[in-house]
């Protein structure tokens, strides 16, 4: 007595997958905070006021009304700096993840579609690449490229394209054997047309899953590099810099560490959940 129901729409299924909903919520919150930072932040994140350094949160006796969670060693508002830090995190997440996705997808398509020597070379590089600890590799890469946000983005792309490449390669190999591709060959589509028009669209759902997970990873890597002083300049409000300062003045202003760490965990768990949830929606069979 199975009713033949129309396939529920994609949006409907996402709305009924709690992890995906939570992930989308996190992504929206981050985006809104990043876009509205100038209005959201009560203070200029760079404004120093040494008279007000190390202020505790506002509900403590020594707290100051306008500095909700207190100030850092230079009297800068912790909330404002964290809010502005969201911008850097999100920029890196979007740019680095997209570029890594682009590079990985192109190489993965090539390896999966053409096979043979192309595949051998690309797969071998991926294997070697993935056997190195990412943290170590990124630090070495930034040492080579030089510190700065662009270096961080390049480093993330160079390291993490393999995640996309491996999956895209495997999936392309599967797709290549399917009927519709074979029929494409018989009606005389060129290889490039086939790759772009027939195979790539079928990889899009998978890529979205990987992309959302990669965004979480990129945010963590940027924070790490900024924490060790290899990303943006040290006075720029990024989560990593806040964490680095917070670690230094941990006993004076625990909030300086607490707030960005909370934001990071919130973003990473959210983006991970988004990826997991989307995977579930796209492919309900693969439960892990």
């Amino acid at each position: 007595m199975v009713n033949v129901r129309p396939d529920p729409s994609f949006v409907y299924r996402i709305c009924h997958e709690p992890r995906a909903v939570f992930g989308l919520f996190v992504l929206c919150v981050l985006t809104v905070i990043a876009l509205t930072a100038p209005w959201l932040a009560p203070h200029d994140p760079l404004e120093q006021d040494l008279l007000y350094s190390f202020l505790p949160p506002t509900w403590y006796p020594q707290g100051e009304g306008s500095y909700l969670l207190g100030t850092d060693n230079l009297g800068r508002d912790i909330i404002s700096r964290t809010v502005y830090g969201t911008r850097i995190a999100l920029v890196v997440a979007v740019v680095a993840a997209s570029l890594a996705c682009l590079l990985g997808t192109v190489l993965g398509l090539l390896a999966g579609y053409f096979g043979g020597k192309v595949d051998l070379v690309i797969s071998r590089v991926v294997d070697i690449w993935m056997s190195f600890p990412a943290v170590l590799l990124s630090i070495v890469l930034v040492a080579v490229i030089g510190a700065g946000l662009h270096a961080v983005i390049i480093a993330i792309v160079i390291i993490d394209w393999t995640r996309f490449c491996r999956v895209v390669r495997a999936e392309t190999m599967v797709q290549k054997e399917l009927d519709y591709v074979a029929s494409g060959v018989t009606i005389g589509l060129s290889r490039i047309q086939l790759l772009l028009n027939e195979i790539l669209p079928n990889l899009v759902p998978l890529l979205i899953v990987l992309l959302s997970m990669e965004m979480g990873i990129a945010i963590v890597v940027e924070t790490i590099l900024s924490f060790v002083g290899l990303s943006v300049a040290s006075d720029t409000p990024s989560w990593g810099n806040l964490i680095q300062e917070g670690r230094q003045y941990i006993h004076q202003v625990p909030w300086l560490l607490g707030l960005p760490v909370f934001c990071l965990i919130f973003s990473v768990v959210g983006l991970n959940a988004l990826g997991d949830g989307l995977k579930q929606v796209i492919d309900p069979v693969s439960r892990r």
């Binding site: 600890p133 070495v140 040492a143 963590v220 991970n272």
Partner: protein, 335 residues
């Protein structure tokens, strides 16, 4: 037979090592920015800089530098650190024991807890303990070790300040070490106050390092234990009168470890790579902490030395995994 196989594996690592050395050398020569200029500051005259360049051999051609570098490496000479003005080999040997002790400690935690979790989960398969273990593993895997470390610092260092969150030893303790292996050395010399303090300081960084390996290892081992428990030999063991726990421990565990060890090998190198950051966060005076300083100061000889050291460690770890697999799996021994 076996020894020859293992020796072969070890010899095969030499080209890998040479590759690493070459790549690192080339990479670090294309670095923009002049380390000598950074080191001397604005007050130096061109003659001073020229003199220093010659001193560090940076005035010759790249290929000449490479040949000289290889020659020095072969003799165990890693050059002189630009920022610390000390022999790189000595610097590394001074820090290596610190990192080794921390790494081994973290590995023991990860393997011990991971195996226990897997056994408990497999013993109570499809009941609530397995469900709890699965969700705990899921949470641990979702959050990277960097964030665990910071969360530990906040919770156990600030909110409930019970654990030390900085350094390797209580500053109040005076201890003159000969080998830098504080933990082992102090225990052997009977300075148990030092041993205790070193262990106490190791717990948070060690656990933070151990968590990812523990979680991944437990997940892999549990699923392969569950597979092994459905094998014929496990059923036979049950009809011998073994309890479920005895079947897991005596029969299934060793078989399940074989795929688990192979699959978690990469995770083990990630743990070692993780020391770089964890040492930084906990102000732990190890190799990783020095590596970050070297990168910030663009100290090429030191960076090279540290990378080569890590490469050697990774090669040895992979060799160790091969060795463990040969010990675990008798079918490999004659192969």
């Amino acid at each position: 037979m076996t020894t020859r196989y293992l020796l072969n594996r070890l010899l095969l690592a030499l080209p890998t090592l040479f590759g690493v050395v070459t790549v690192v050398f080339i990479l670090l020569r294309v670095v923009p920015g002049d380390p000598i200029a950074m080191m001397t500051g604005p007050g130096a005259t061109p003659e001073d800089i020229q003199h220093l360049r010659a001193h560090y051999g940076l005035d010759r051609s790249l290929s000449a530098q490479f040949v000289i570098y290889l020659g020095q490496l072969a003799m165990g000479d890693l050059g002189t650190s630009i920022s610390l003005r000390q022999d790189v080999g000595e610097l590394i040997l001074g820090r290596l024991p610190v990192t080794l002790e921390l790494t081994v400690f973290a590995m023991l935690i990860a393997i011990g807890c991971g195996v226990c979790l897997a056994i408990v989960g497999s013993y109570w398969r499809s009941r609530w303990p397995e469900a709890i273990i699965d969700s705990v593993i899921g949470i641990i895997v979702a959050i990277p070790d960097f964030l665990w470390a910071l969360a530990f610092i906040l919770i156990l260092g600030v909110v409930i300040p019970v654990m030390p969150i900085f350094g390797r030893l209580d500053l109040a303790l005076e201890y003159q070490s000969y080998t830098e292996f504080y933990l082992i050395e102090s225990a052997l010399r009977g300075r148990f106050d030092v041993t205790g303090s070193v262990l106490w300081h190791m717990i948070l960084p060690g656990v933070a390092l151990a968590l990812p390996l523990m979680a991944v290892g437990a997940r892999v081992l549990k699923s392969s234990l569950n597979v092994e428990m459905t094998q014929d030999y496990a059923a036979l063991a049950h009809t011998k009168g073994f309890s479920r726990l005895q079947v897991i421990l005596k029969e299934a565990l060793r078989n399940a470890l074989i795929p688990a060890v192979t699959l978690t090998g990469v995770q083990l190198t990630f743990l070692i790579g993780g020391t770089v950051l964890i040492e930084r966060i906990f102000g732990y005076p190890g190799l990783g902490n020095m590596a970050i300083d070297a990168v910030i100061n663009r100290d090429l000889p030191l960076i090279q030395g540290i990378i080569i050291t890590f490469a050697i460690i990774f090669i040895l770890v992979n060799f160790l995994i091969d060795l463990i697999n040969t010990i675990l799996n008798p079918r490999l021994r004659d192969g």
